[in-house]
Symmetry: C2
Subunit: 370 residues, 2 copies
């Protein structure tokens, strides 16, 4: 089945093996995982389970780290709607990296991008959404002393001159090849990747010396950083390294959770009841009848409910293996499995929403602007 | 002979009559001049002599003005080098308009543009040149209470979000048609006109109500404002009006003074001696021999020396008519005519440089930044 993975569209049954080849990514091997573990003492479930499955130059990042040349982290969010569980996946992992490597984090809110690429959003809306999303970032436990969150429009005096340096090196034909622009693309869309490239070298500009950059992100953003990796060395900066994850599937199956299709995603602002309703009506890998499922078992590999456990709600490997057995063997039915997930999601949401509320009083400790 | 007039290239023998038709400009008729004179009590030589020869919606600007709905002025400078006499031509006229109509002026220094379009300039150079150029603007006598000068990179937090609104409405194919971009154009060049459009409506944004905008500029900048006129009404703002002048010819004849060909231009920072040398070695409309010139007279219409008198250094119409007669009749030779011009240029430079020096202490009264 055909699929599409670009920064602005993810659809179809994604073949991550093919993406690795097409994009020219490195795979996270057992050897590389051990190398990480040497420093972190443990492996995050998202690494162990292959959710963060690909990278660029991660060995180089560790080489530098081992020489005492520490990296900073850069990730971000396109504020086109409220935060859903798919968005926080790479952020959870980024927070873990921050803690384990004691790394600074630059978190970019691309309110400009979401305005440019989205006909139904104005700049005031993307600005407000960025501040809403920032609360979710903060709720995940980032270190206020080592984390800077900024909106592109509010940090433009700093970002724009640096973006010009990238833009000057990027022709329309290269941008077109990377992103699939057409003659009908607007000139802001065409320019935008120059802004997304900036945080990958801004700390080096501000410190006046080169600092390695590691970008944890979902694989659909790779084209931006491919472009940045081509251009930054021409400006005298390091190529940014990256560690890339798969997308969290939508509750309706396939692709990724979409911020525009509300019922396919669980938002951090959903009440436990709303989340439960979405889960209970989700697509699963179950059979047509109870009888058939009891006899033949279900297919968890295509089941979004299973993937929610695997990616976010069942960090214990033994417990997960046991669930897999139950599912495959037909001893658990989808309804019960959904009920159990709902409880875990409800607990997560209640805790997250509490932290999110508390974050409101501290937001200025995280935000930077010109 | 072929000619080319774009914001980035002016060459050949320019046929301003053709440009009026091609660009779809209005001509400044006697009727329109009288309408202006009603308010200004006198006509500036640059208007009387047809140097400001074309416009867009100038009648509308006067309609609004007569209803008590005052306009603001917007003009600018691309800081690719030191200021030469060709640059100050529209600024002198803008200062006159400011005085006569008591109008605010927004003066944009497009240091971003000159960086993007010029391989030999970095951002630090364009920034420094912008500040040098600003001294020349100030030396012309603009009202410090009614004039704001800004660099695009230093005012980006204000300009960039507004530019995004323009960019979202401008497709690559429209930008390509207006400016002749190719696949090899860089993505900053393609985006840039969005930034140049902003000062035409920024005062309306800041005041929260629509204010008419009049842009005095050399005709080569018209493509930018054609694009702005298409898009601004879609954002709820007035189309900017304009009043447009011809280019000051280069001392080597043809085209316009070029900031990159030093000997073809007199810079405001040239010493009187340097200026005199440039004038004395300039192209003229003279004959091959003194004898022939005494007999047949010279052709002042193609002579840059004559145009310097007409555009800047001989505001008295009777004096100019007398010079024309002398030239046509062969009673003045080019050497003498150049000597006379050198004296006037020396007087201007000495006065301007004095004012320019004094401006250094007051620059912060004019500059705005985020």
């Amino acid at each position: 089945m055909a699929y599409k993975v670009t920064p602005w569209e993810v659809s179809g049954d994604i073949d991550y093996g093919k993406i690795v080849k097409e994009f020219g990514l490195g795979v996270i091997s057992d050897h590389l995982m051990k190398r990480i573990e040497k420093h972190t003492k443990e492996l995050h479930p998202l690494l162990r389970r292959g959710v963060f499955f690909a990278h660029r130059d991660l060995n180089w990042i560790l080489d530098e780290y081992e020489k005492g040349h520490h990296f900073f982290l850069y990730t971000g969010r396109g504020p086109s709607g409220h935060t859903h569980l798919g968005h926080i996946l790479p952020w959870i992992f980024t927070q873990w990296l921050q803690e384990k490597f004691n790394a600074d984090l630059w978190f970019q809110m691309t309110d400009d991008e979401k305005f440019l690429f989205n006909d139904r959003l104005d700049l005031e809306q993307t600005r407000k959404l960025a501040y809403e999303n920032a609360l979710d970032v903060m709720a995940l436990g980032f270190d206020e002393k080592k984390t800077k969150i900024f909106l592109d429009t509010e940090y433009a005096k700093t970002l724009y001159p640096q973006a010009l340096k990238v833009a000057k090196r990027l022709t329309f034909s290269t941008a077109k090849a990377a992103f699939g622009f057409t003659n009908e693309s607007n000139v802001g869309e065409i320019f935008f990747t120059s802004i997304q490239a900036v945080p990958a070298f801004l700390p080096s500009v501000l410190k006046g010396k080169n600092i390695p950059c590691l970008i944890p992100h979902a694989v659909d953003q790779d084209p931006h950083f491919r472009v940045a990796r081509d251009i930054l060395p021409k400006l005298g900066y390091y190529k940014p390294a990256s560690i890339q994850c798969t997308m969290l599937p939508g509750l309706k199956g396939g692709g990724k959770m979409s911020a525009s299709e509300e019922s396919s995603a669980i938002y951090t602002t959903d009440s436990p009841d709303v989340a439960k309703k979405k889960i209970m009506s989700a697509f699963t890998g179950g059979r047509d009848s109870v009888k058939e499922q009891r006899e033949k078992g279900a297919n968890y590999s295509i089941c979004p409910i299973y993937h929610y456990y695997r990616l976010l709600f069942m960090p214990d490997d033994k417990e997960l293996a046991s669930l897999e057995r139950e599912c495959r063997g037909g001893s658990i039915l989808c309804g019960e499995c959904k009920e159990r997930l709902s409880k875990r999601v409800a607990a997560f949401l209640s805790d997250h929403q509490h932290k999110r509320e508390k974050a409101k009083a501290h937001i200025e400790k995280f935000m930077i602007r010109d």
